[in-house]
Symmetry: C2
DNA sequence: CGATCGTTTGAGTTTGATCAAATGTGGTGG
DNA sequence: CCACCACATTTGATCAAACTCAAACGATCG
């Protein structure tokens, strides 16, 4: 059981280290706490709205979605956690889920009991701040989603989502080279963007016609990064990933070139 | 300078105590840290996108908005902090604002320097958890805003917003009796709901025609609470305010009757 | 008493939704 | 290998929600 966690855990470490380097024993503490590993099949829930969360998780591989369902049956996806993202952190602090978390594609997650997580934070108080930071960045992303659904056209909205996922995956060390796995159906995409399936299909065709992206075989390829960024009006600042450590200059070429 | 803070600070205490009672010295620490008080005129920014936050604030009185502006000039309001809400907490953890915070109406805020806030948390580690909780609840609200903009009609969307504000103000001890101050213009409302001004006007007329609300003189009166809740498909759970302390039964009548 | 800002109304247009059906595709079992 | 099924994508036609443009109306304030 030497290496049960893989890329996802690396992505988590990378994320947490944006704020400051992790001590070796913080790292060990994290790995020890997130000892359990579980696989979830596509379209199965990890936890449903109304439940009392019992675990804190890290997505190691795959793709999750947070979503809510309205009385009329309409679904809105409110977040798409990618490998390295923690989820259910709010379980440490709130007692009831106000939304569900499901697996978009078969996923593997590492999890810690609430108790283990609390002990971890007691032992390494700085981790509390890092988890807090995580929640704050999640807020930033959600704000951008509000903007996306509220004020952008379907075309820009979709382009923006593709840019965001690309940037987030790249920040986690995945999806290099202008293409990344994106196991969403068009119906999922519709629920994430607040559109109908039909309109998603047509918008996608438009993005393809403009030669901005290709979307085949559960994979998204970005053919024209600059064009896609322009189409979506995308600016990566709200992701807070390229944040320079203290005062060093932002390194160019991180997001701009394919 | 015996009582510089007023209702807003009470609302903050009430909020923080949802998680557990505040120690007297935590309370004193908070009041000492948030020693500065400032007034902001309507339509003036407290802090603009791109700035480095220097303070943490609590809204004491008035109404703020967090917003983003798109390249084309469209504005989307992504949150409406009410008295008792902390803001710029992310300044403790992120270096750049990715959105602006402005005053919708003349407001008074208490603020603490980042240093004072950090010292406060060092002295009272439990406050860190409470601030974290605050960020987590903010996330919940933002998720609901995504749902609102993504999947609800203009009519339901507006009804939902009115319900949310009513519930949040009531939780802070304000806006009793089915009416509360709401100093938003229809243009502000449009920016909060992702609609055009004209459509806001017509939707508002519809809500009035259905005798659900009255909106006159910077005040919103809820004429038919049950009807408004039904129209907006509103469920208060995501606000995490009525959360019972440990395991005691939810008290009825908190939200249901006028 | 203008000036300014916010609200309201009307007319016409557009974006995106809905309904219905056809076409593709991947997987399963015979 | 083929037939079949379930599911996803695509297309066409129609409809409705919400937007835009333009102008009038109403408050509020110096």
């Amino acid at each position: 059981m030497g290496q049960p966690h893989g890329l996802g855990m690396d992505a988590l470490f990378r994320r947490l280290q944006l704020y400051g380097p992790l001590e070796p024993d913080e790292r060990r503490g994290l790995e020890a706490a997130f000892a359990g590993v579980r696989t979830v099949e596509a379209n199965h829930d990890l936890i449903a709205e109304g439940a009392r969360p019992a675990f804190v998780g890290v997505l190691l591989d795959g793709l999750l979605c947070r979503y809510k369902v309205l009385p009329g049956g309409e679904r809105q996806i409110v977040a798409l956690p990618t490998p390295g993202d923690m989820f259910d952190l709010q379980g440490l602090v709130l007692r009831r889920m106000d939304h569900s978390i499901g697996a978009v594609a078969r996923s593997t997650v590492a999890f810690a009991t609430l108790q283990a997580a609390h002990e971890l934070m007691d032992a390494h108080p700085r981790l509390t701040a890092l988890f807090w930071r995580d929640a704050v960045v999640e807020c930033s992303i959600l704000r951008e989603w509000v903007v996306n659904c509220g004020r952008r056209t379907a075309y820009a909205r979709m382009a923006h989502l593709f840019c965001e996922l690309s940037a987030r995956l790249a920040a986690g060390g995945l999806g290099k080279g202008g293409a990344y796995p994106l196991p969403l159906t068009q119906a999922d995409l519709a629920d994430a963007l607040g559109l109908s399936v039909v309109h998603v299909n047509r918008t996608l065709q438009q993005l393809r016609a403009e030669r901005l992206v290709a979307f085949k075989g559960r994979r998204l390829s970005i053919l024209d990064r600059a064009g896609l960024i322009a189409a979506g009006g995308f600016r990566a600042d709200y992701l807070h990933v390229a944040e320079p450590m203290e005062g060093d200059p932002p390194k160019a070429g991180k997001e701009g070139d394919s």
